[in-house]
């Protein structure tokens, strides 16, 4: 999104441009809003948190001589009397991707100053996220009824429960926080805060539709993490 133009400064593309940006004795990320740079750096640190969880899961699963529970049986759901493997997880994946798509469009319409469209799309994203959290709550309660605990489970290796609750719980927390902010921002967009120049979060500067892009970065990151959890925890 950043194709910056600053007077008296000649932007070069690629690695040469990177060397000049970095050594320009000025702001390093040219044309990038400070909030966006901060969000990216937060997301980088969050990447490390989730990586540590997934790596510890790999280490736990790899180092136990006991058979690991088969996720395609554990997470199967009965549809019309037939157990369908990973049915709920597949639906959750599609719901999250749908909400990621609506968010991407919301960012686009925000930059085009299409206030109504942007607001509705953020609201749709929030409802998608809420649906996801709801289905995750259903999945948790189903597994808890079946006797899965952080310290034991009836399906196999005892470590399964602790990794499952830790990883999906931390991801679900991220989704929930995202949903709260999506509702707040859909209100802000509908109320026209970015047209009236109301000040943004944690700052006395005027708010702008770049905040929607920052919110979008967070939301896409939540989807991104789910891609990895889906692959490593549910499919592997």
């Amino acid at each position: 999104m950043s194709d910056p133009k600053i007077e008296g400064f000649n932007f070069k593309p690629g690695f040469k441009g990177m060397a000049e940006d970095t050594g320009s004795d000025q702001t390093m990320f040219k044309g990038v809003h400070w909030g966006k740079a901060m969000m990216w750096i937060f997301l980088l640190s969050d990447t490390f948190v989730f990586s540590c969880f997934l790596i510890s899961y790999m280490k736990g699963r790899g180092s136990t001589p006991v058979e690991w529970p088969n996720p395609s049986e554990v997470f199967a759901l009965n549809a019309f009397g037939v157990p369908v493997p990973l049915l709920l997880i597949a639906i959750m994946t599609f719901v999250l991707i749908t909400s990621s798509g609506t968010m991407a469009l919301a960012v686009k319409y925000g930059y085009e100053r299409n206030r109504k469209m942007c607001g509705w799309l953020i609201l749709a994203t929030a409802i998608g996220g809420l649906t996801f959290v709801g289905m995750q709550a259903f999945e948790w309660s189903k597994l808890i009824h079946e006797g899965v605990r952080p310290w034991e489970n009836p399906f196999g290796a005892a470590q399964f429960g602790s990794f499952f609750f830790m990883i999906t719980g931390f991801h679900g927390t991220h989704v929930s926080i995202g949903v709260i902010f999506l509702f707040i921002y859909s209100y802000k967009v509908f109320a026209g805060h970015y047209e009236s120049g109301k000040k943004g979060w944690f700052t006395s500067m005027k708010g702008d539709y770049v905040e929607i892009e920052i919110l979008g970065l967070y939301w896409h990151f939540v989807d991104l993490v789910w891609v990895f959890i889906f692959a490593f925890f549910y499919l592997w």
Partner: protein, 113 residues
């Protein structure tokens, strides 16, 4: 000053690119679900899972998170730290193999030696 400049020249991308990526993500998710549906096993399963995973992650980061259009200063700051994660994975694979080996070994021969 930079602020005002930026606001005027913010350009958006055509809606088509987002819809294409969106569609691709659906198709790739469907494929990765099919990996489980048809119960592929062994190396084929793992390579397919990783292939679809990295493709999806790449599409989300490049287009939905706009990294494809960002300047290299930002892209490189974000992507190079991933090599540290790769190193960590490499170390922990060695670690879990050793743990598994010593568990199986001592469960078999007992702790008396």
């Amino acid at each position: 000053m930079e602020e005002t400049n930026k606001k005027e020249q913010t350009s958006t991308h055509k809606i088509g690119i987002y819809l294409w990526i969106w569609g691709l993500l659906f198709v790739l998710s469907f494929f990765s679900y099919m990996v489980d549906w048809y119960q592929f096993q062994g190396l084929l399963r793992w390579s397919l899972i990783l292939f679809f995973m990295f493709l999806k992650a790449g599409l989300i980061m490049a287009f939905f998170m706009h990294l494809f259009w960002e300047r290299y200063a930002l892209v490189n700051v974000l992507l190079w730290p991933m090599t540290a994660i790769a190193c960590f994975i490499f170390l922990m694979v060695a670690e879990f193999k050793y743990t598994l080996f010593s568990r199986i070994f001592y469960f078999a021969v007992g702790g008396g030696i």
